[in-house]
């Protein structure tokens, strides 16, 4: 059994399935610049340390992601055209209708997948990033590594000229800007649906005119895709995508978040992100794997919760990551456990009461795919437009999931997310009184020069503060 077999095993492949898939896996990994040593690192160190691999459901979920990563480099023989978008576009709802309109189109969010799998499992994200930095992403200007990954994949020829890159300007300029470089590089056809961010600090993120514009702009993106790909996206395709979204929400998203309310929580932050995110991604390999994996996972979680088992001992202080937890540095999660805090929650995924009600209202009243997408994005607590609304969402999460501290990921290259972070961290500290820190950490890749020891010291101090503050708050009732 070599490391490739081991990888497939850790990713929940059955023996027969693994045998059949191995050649594709090797071909894909080669093209994606993942060496045998990188695979060894993944199976010996990264995967077992950072994910709950004793759970079969979790292993299978990792398998879903591995398949997506390989698919970027090895399309099926039928796939003749490519349609991309970029994170954090809710790719499922947006790209799935395109896939339904013509299954010979490969759909993907390559920056996300290459970070989520390439960087997180194999620690190869930096290879894509460095390629981008050689060709116009000036290192000293500090752009985000997610965008660099996307561009780097083109520079390295891993991703060829794309037939339609229907981007997504929702909260940041840099993603749309990177697409300009891609277009310059290989002629990829790009189009940018746009959300205008003119909602006041304490305004209503669902303001009708703003939502309508964004929705119309998303629809315009689909029109472009139709033109460039020679397809027709029918109302049936869109309805089917909405139905799938609702199904994913009911069968995967909501139950998992319920499990996370248990003390101790049964999954760690890495597990949670990988289990929840198919709902937001365009899975070119389909969603059957996801549903099957979830069925198994949820049974396992039910048993764990009933038996009071979790990733940390009961009563461990619970910490949430604002923005995203840095999946490019997944070792941070076990490091937090070692320090006695359960940093297993992620603001971007949690749904408090206000959001849950709103999301039900949106999904039940959904008559238009694009309006629904625009509204859901306005609701997500890290992608929203109104800072006050984001704060209210965080406040709900802190209450509903009994959060004792917040790590407000201060990702320096991302002006967008960090800009909000600094204000929100201050609002949360001032108005709610739980401790917050804003460490500078790359969310998407693990660069060799990352100051791990400094991070440990910082988290150690923070863990002490959180523990003390939890005791104090419980003494005060």
């Amino acid at each position: 059994m070599d490391e490739y077999d081991e990888l497939l095993k850790l990713c929940g492949f059955q023996p027969g399935e693994a045998r059949e898939y191995k050649p594709t896996l090797k071909k894909g990994l080669d093209k994606l610049l993942v060496t045998q040593d990188d695979v060894k690192f993944a199976v010996k160190e990264r995967l077992p340390k950072c994910w709950s691999l004793h759970l079969e459901g979790m292993r299978k979920i990792l398998g879903c992601w591995l398949r997506e990563y390989i698919r970027i480099a090895v399309p099926t023989p039928e796939e003749t055209r490519i349609c991309h978008t970029y994170f954090p576009q809710p790719g499922m709802a947006y790209l799935h209708p395109i896939k339904l309109a013509d299954p010979t189109i490969q759909v993907s969010i390559p920056d996300f997948i290459a970070s989520f799998v390439g960087a997180a499992f194999f620690n190869v994200g930096w290879k894509y990033v460095e390629a981008a930095e050689r060709e116009g992403c000036a290192i000293e200007q500090i752009g985000c590594s997610l965008n660099k990954i996307r561009y780097g994949l083109h520079v390295l020829g891993i991703v060829p000229c794309v037939d339609a890159s229907i981007g997504f300007h929702s909260l940041c300029d840099d993603a749309a800007l990177s697409d300009q470089l891609i277009h310059e590089w290989d002629g990829t056809k790009i189009w940018t649906p746009y959300r205008v961010r003119d909602i006041p600090f304490d305004g209503d993120p669902f303001e009708e005119i703003n939502i309508k514009y964004f929705a119309a702009s998303l629809e315009d993106g689909h029109r472009k895709a139709e033109e460039w790909l020679g397809i027709e996206i029918t109302p049936e395709h869109k309805n089917e995508a909405v139905e799938l979204l609702v199904e994913l929400s009911i069968k995967t998203f909501v139950p998992l978040l319920e499990f996370m309310k248990a003390d101790p929580a049964p999954l760690n932050a890495n597990d949670l992100a990988y289990a929840l995110l198919p709902i937001a991604m365009a899975m070119d390999t389909g969603y059957d794997y996801t549903f099957k994996a979830h069925e198994i996972l949820q049974q396992e979680l039910r048993t764990m919760v009933d038996e009071g088992k979790g990733v940390v001992p009961k009563g461990t202080p619970r910490v949430s990551w604002r923005i995203l937890h840095p999946w490019g540095c997944p070792w941070l999660v076990p490091m937090c456990h070692e320090l006695g805090i359960s940093a297993d929650f992620e603001e971007g995924f949690l749904l408090g009461e206000m959001q849950l009600n709103k999301s039900m209202e949106i999904q039940m009243g959904a008559t238009d795919l694009y309006v629904m997408m625009a509204q859901i994005l306005a609701m997500v607590s890290v992608l929203g437009t109104s800072i006050e609304y984001m704060f209210r969402s965080h406040r709900d999460h802190i209450r509903d999931y009994k959060i004792d501290g917040l790590i407000s990921t201060g990702y320096r290259p991302c002006r967008t997310l960090e800009g909000h972070s600094l204000i929100l961290a201050r609002m949360i500290e001032d108005r709610i009184g739980i401790p917050c820190i804003t460490p500078d950490v790359d969310i998407y890749i693990d660069r060799g020069d990352f100051p791990k020891e400094r991070m440990r010291t910082l988290l150690e101090t923070f863990a002490d503060v959180v523990k003390r503050s939890k005791v104090q708050r419980s003494e005060q009732g």
């Binding site: 277009h183 514009y213 702009s217 800009g419």
Partner: protein, 387 residues
Amino acid sequence: MEAMERLSKCVQERPAELKRLRDGGIKVIGIVGLGYVPEELIYASAAIPQRLIKGGQREAIDDSREYCHGSFSTFHKAQIGYLLSGKEPVYNSLDYLVVESGDWNSEMVGMYVYFYRKLPTTWLGVPGNPEFDGALSYYITGLGRLRDRLEELTGSKASEEKLREYITLYNEMRDLLKNISYLRKHPSPPIGGLDFIKLNHYSFYCEPHKYVDGLKSVYAELKGSEGEYPADAPRIAIFGCPIAQSDYVLPRLIEDAGGVIVTEELSGGIRHYEANTKVHGDMMGNLAHRYYLGRARDVYKYPWGDELPSMFTRLVDDYHVDGVIWYQLMYMVGNSMLGYVVSKRMKEKGIPMMTIQSEYDLQGRLESNKTRIETFIEVVKQYRKRR
């Protein structure tokens, strides 16, 4: 140049001028952005626009550190420093803030200032996809809402007549700036880039009637004058990030080294003067057309297509440019990417291009920058000779 000197006084006099106006009950409206907020609309609403365009000082960056993080754009960090430190009289004189929502840095300046200074603020939506059908009407709706807010604030109506009056005045201002800039197409230009940029910046500090009168005198003086720069001086274009009011180290170094700056495209760092506003029909619609679609495209309008990169090659041709200096403020990522694309175009054209990066620290590295620029000017001379 006497007329120019007279105009230059408006910068020092501005704080006292704003105080006088505010004492008289007039509201001062700060503007953060790249030139998408029509000042005509603010004047027509009986308020005073104050475009926030100062920069170049390291101290402002240091002052911003308490509030925002380091990788925020240099220009915008400085705006936060000025707006929140309380050290800058003009920035202390604002009653209201209008922030363009078209680039993230500007939007966030608004958020920080609203949070820390509680300054009432409106974000004007500037959609980044102008080719999309609904984009212009979204911008028009935003302008309408802005007009309503201003009228509420001042209690005065921005009537069609008043709008037309200020539109006409601003058209005249832009025509004059254009005429003065075009004088630089001459082989021996009577004005260089440093003076032109300063002159342009005065328009943000001076009462517009007074400014237009002053510009007329400047133009009259320049038109009849001998060329200030010799015909063999290397003709330089500065492109890239905004050169803010008082951030003049780079243009000074270029012209001290024997070059002459004949054109610039500075991402909203100077007033755009090429396009004018129609004066017939619906004034708000006319303003929207001019300010949203009529002006030069910027990096935040997607997709760039060929329109944006070719704007630079066109300027190089029109002004017979020999060499390009790309002014790159730290952490303006979009401009940095555009700089890369433009550098490829310049290479194809055989035009040398150099990038100067700054976090308002050029003054601190004066000698090394001086040497770099002198060397570049020499290189440009060689290229020119070869051509």
